[in-house]
């Protein structure tokens, strides 16, 4: 009932004004203020396919290249990901998302992730009728971006492997069955390490970004292939992401553990940092007195950014004592 009503509403808007077309596209991807979590909005694909069906006209005129530039006006480096886009991650509009099947993502993948320099669209996202997710005003954002330090991913090569043979034939492999039941292989570029098990499953660690992790995993699979095994590349999945950043002011950990007792654990006799287990998103943060923060446990980059934006105002509260 809701689906059809919403579709009708959007269909009307499209008929009314071409400007709103793109707005609805954006608005639909960020459907309502309260939508959370990575579960894809069920209407997405239906709406998009509906749109495509309405005639190639719309699909051709849709220019999604403006999206990263427009929303990330503050960031100037290529690496900068706007935390704004985390709400649209489930629909694949985010510049880093590379494994969604929606048509929007397909058209978007051609667009490179280079930030500024590409033309800024005159389109203004702040039209009053847009049902957009409320964005934190620029002044409140921290301006600090956590840097990814380590990505752990797994992939299934799909065939049993002879670890002794691999250890013999590969230069960059070490295998000590008495110590650990896997071959430890390393490549130089991207600088990563892989654990390859006899079942054909592999764990790849040490990459600094999701794409690097994927590239590295593919290289390991190629090495195994070249050694004569029918290796494939199945179920690549990022299992954990670790990031760190510095808020540049000291933090009173004792105060923080008092006010956020249910989330924090601070035992200076055991570990100098405070362990903060955030519930939403489910991320563990290690907060140190020097102001350095380590975030871990994320499966998506957006979770890290969201977690940091959540913790930053809390830390600011403990700044001046």
């Amino acid at each position: 009932m809701d689906e059809s009503a919403l579709e009708r509403y959007f269909d009307d808007s499209i008929a009314n004004d071409s400007n709103f077309r793109l707005v609805e596209e954006l608005g639909l991807q960020s459907p309502a203020p309260h939508v959370e979590g990575p579960t894809p909005f069920p209407q997405d694909s239906s709406y998009l396919s509906g749109k495509a069906g309405q005639g190639g006209v719309l699909g051709e005129e849709l220019d999604l290249s403006f999206l990263p530039d427009d929303l990330s006006t503050q960031e100037s480096t290529a690496q900068a990901e706007s935390p704004n886009l985390d709400v649209s991650q489930d629909s694949g509009i985010g510049p880093d998302c590379n494994s969604q099947d929606s048509t929007a993502a397909n058209t978007h993948q051609g667009v490179s992730t280079s930030g500024p320099g590409t033309s800024a669209s005159p389109f203004c996202p702040m039209t009053p009728m847009t049902p957009m997710t409320p964005v934190t005003p620029v002044t409140e954002r921290s301006g600090i971006i956590p840097q990814l330090q380590n990505i752990v991913s797994t992939v299934n090569l799909g065939c049993p492997l002879d670890l002794k043979f691999i250890a013999l034939q590969a230069r960059n492999a070490e295998y000590n069955p008495k110590r650990f039941a896997a071959v430890i292989m390393r490549i130089r570029e991207p600088r990563t390490t892989a654990l390859i098990f006899s079942s054909g499953k592999m764990v790849c660690t040490g990459a600094k970004s999701e794409e690097q992790s994927r590239l590295a995993a593919r290289k390991y699979a190629r090495v195994v292939q070249k050694l004569g095994f029918p290796a494939r590349f199945l179920d690549f999945k990022i299992q954990n992401m670790v990031a760190s950043c510095d808020v540049s002011f000291p933090i009173r950990l004792e105060g923080l553990v008092l006010t956020h007792q249910q989330f924090s654990s601070y035992e200076p006799e055991l570990f100098p940092g405070l362990i903060y287990r955030m519930v939403k998103p489910r991320i563990v943060l290690l907060i140190f007195v020097s102001g350095k923060v380590v975030l871990t446990g994320a499966k998506e980059r957006a979770e890290i950014y969201e977690a940091f934006e959540n913790i930053y105002p809390i830390l600011r509260g403990f700044r001046k004592q």
């Binding site: 490179s112 570029e189 933090i251 553990v257 200076p268 006799e269 007195v289």
Partner: protein, 447 residues
């Protein structure tokens, strides 16, 4: 006797007797000998009686012997610490709960003892009785890390959130351990424990305000505070010359190595405040600051305000004077900086020993020069603040990461040559296999 009115079904007589000769009593007719009723065994309900065994016969589940022993050990710990009755009861409850849990029922006996200590610890925390984990580890004679692991597992299992312990609260209990009252040591070196505690608590509070305490282990800090308090209560030459080692020997406590660094850090903070004392003529250095400690502690808030003001003024002056283009100023600042680094290094090498003072002076000059000597562009904010956590002031130089692959899509082409470089040539593989065999043989022959 058989109930009246009962007739034998065989012959009809009413002469029925109770025959108790055999294992079950039977009602037997005296005339014809037929059994009238058989008794319990024959008339047992098929499939067992209606009342279950556990309800009629089984006794209440007793705690196993190890649990009882654990409880006794727990009581002993409580008695040693002389805690309240409530704490003892609460910790016993927790122990019984935790003991039955699957993660603790099968651990070693040593871990179960540690578990007892952890129950006492958590009960003390919940009921506002300050003890540190170090004390418990000492009592149990266990590795503090093991205690920590068991403690964290236990609070997860029992779902407790216990408040953390304030260092100033633990201070009093800690300073009781030091045996330096007049009955133990000569009058010259003796100190009343109340005065000592008071002064040490003031020092710890000052340290907490200036970021020395957060994130650090509390016991070395407390040790440093007691040592400085003891020195400053009667700053005679004899006391000042006594090193931390000898002090700990005298007071019969175990020395903690980090305490040296804490002493140096505390002295640095005291110097920063001591500089602001208006009636002190000479420069306040870590060597002579101990004499000023009493005054500093007494007027510490006023001195703190003055120090902060002076620091702000100094910063403003610096900013005003460095209106010249930043590159030139950075260059000129770098030159005096490098020269100040040089004399620091030989000092640091000479002062390996407890004399952290030299190292300290080095640090002070770094602080005063107020520039950054490392190449990274982000300024070390710790150097601009008057008080900052020591890990920020002495930031470790991080290895600069080479900015590697950027804009990697993950789907790029992988060149064959690159992959080939990771695979051995057939000859290499043969050599490797041969060498491995030789090594393996060599090892077997050796052993």
């Amino acid at each position: 006797m058989s109930p009246p009115g009962l007739r034998c079904p065989g012959c009809g007589s009413s002469n029925i007797v109770d025959d108790d000769l055999y294992c079950q009593s039977q009602l037997v007719c005296a005339d014809c000998g037929s059994v009238v009723s058989e008794g319990l065994l024959a008339s047992d309900p098929v499939g067992g009686s209606d009342v279950s065994y556990s309800r009629t016969t089984a006794v209440a589940k007793k705690p196993c012997t190890n649990q009882i022993k654990g409880l006794q050990r727990l009581k002993a710990i409580c008695r040693t610490l002389r805690v309240h009755r409530e704490i003892e009861d609460l910790s016993q409850t927790y122990y019984n709960q935790a003991y039955q849990h699957e993660s603790f029922i099968k651990v070693s006996l040593q871990k179960k003892e540690v578990l007892a200590g952890c129950c006492v610890l958590v009960s003390c925390r919940l009921l506002n009785w300050p003890i540190s984990m170090g004390t418990i580890s000492c009592l149990l004679d266990a590795d503090p890390m093991v205690v920590g692991v068991v403690y964290q597992a236990m609070i997860k299992v029992l779902n407790i959130t216990a408040p953390i312990v304030n260092v100033t609260d633990v201070m009093e209990a800690h300073s009781q351990e030091y045996k330096i009252s007049s009955s133990h040591v000569p009058e010259e070196l003796a100190e009343n424990s109340k005065d000592l505690t008071k002064r040490a608590v003031a020092l710890v509070e000052l340290a907490a305000d200036s970021w020395i305490v957060t994130g650090r282990k509390p016991i070395p800090i407390m040790m440093a505070a007691v040592y400085l308090a003891w020195q400053s209560l009667k700053p005679t030459k004899q006391r000042l010359k006594l090193t931390l080692d000898k002090f700990c020997q005298m007071a019969k406590v175990n020395k903690h190595r980090p305490a040296m660094k804490r002493i140096a850090e505390m002295k640095e903070v005291l110097c920063k405040l001591g500089k602001e004392i208006p009636w002190v003529r000479e420069a306040v250095t870590p060597d002579n600051v101990v004499q000023q400690v009493e005054d500093i502690l007494q007027h510490r808030y006023a001195l703190l305000r003055r120090a902060l003001r002076t620091h702000e003024e100094a910063l403003l002056e610096q900013e005003a004077s460095s209106e010249a283009p930043t590159q030139i100023s950075e260059l000129s600042e770098k030159i005096p900086n490098s020269s100040s680094v040089e004399p620091c290094e030989p000092d640091a090498k000479m002062a390996e020993e407890p004399g952290d003072e030299d190292n300290n002076q080095c640090v002070m000059s770094e602080f005063h020069s107020d520039t950054q000597k490392n190449q990274d562009p982000t300024p070390n904010w710790g150097k601009r603040e008057l008080f900052a956590p020591p890990c920020v002031i002495h930031a470790k130089k991080r290895r600069v990461e080479q900015p590697e692959l950027r804009d990697v899509t993950g789907d790029e082409e992988i060149s064959d040559s690159e992959i080939e470089s990771y695979i051995r040539t057939p000859r290499e593989a043969r050599d490797f296999a041969l060498t491995q065999k030789k090594l393996a043989k060599g090892e077997i022959e050796k052993s």
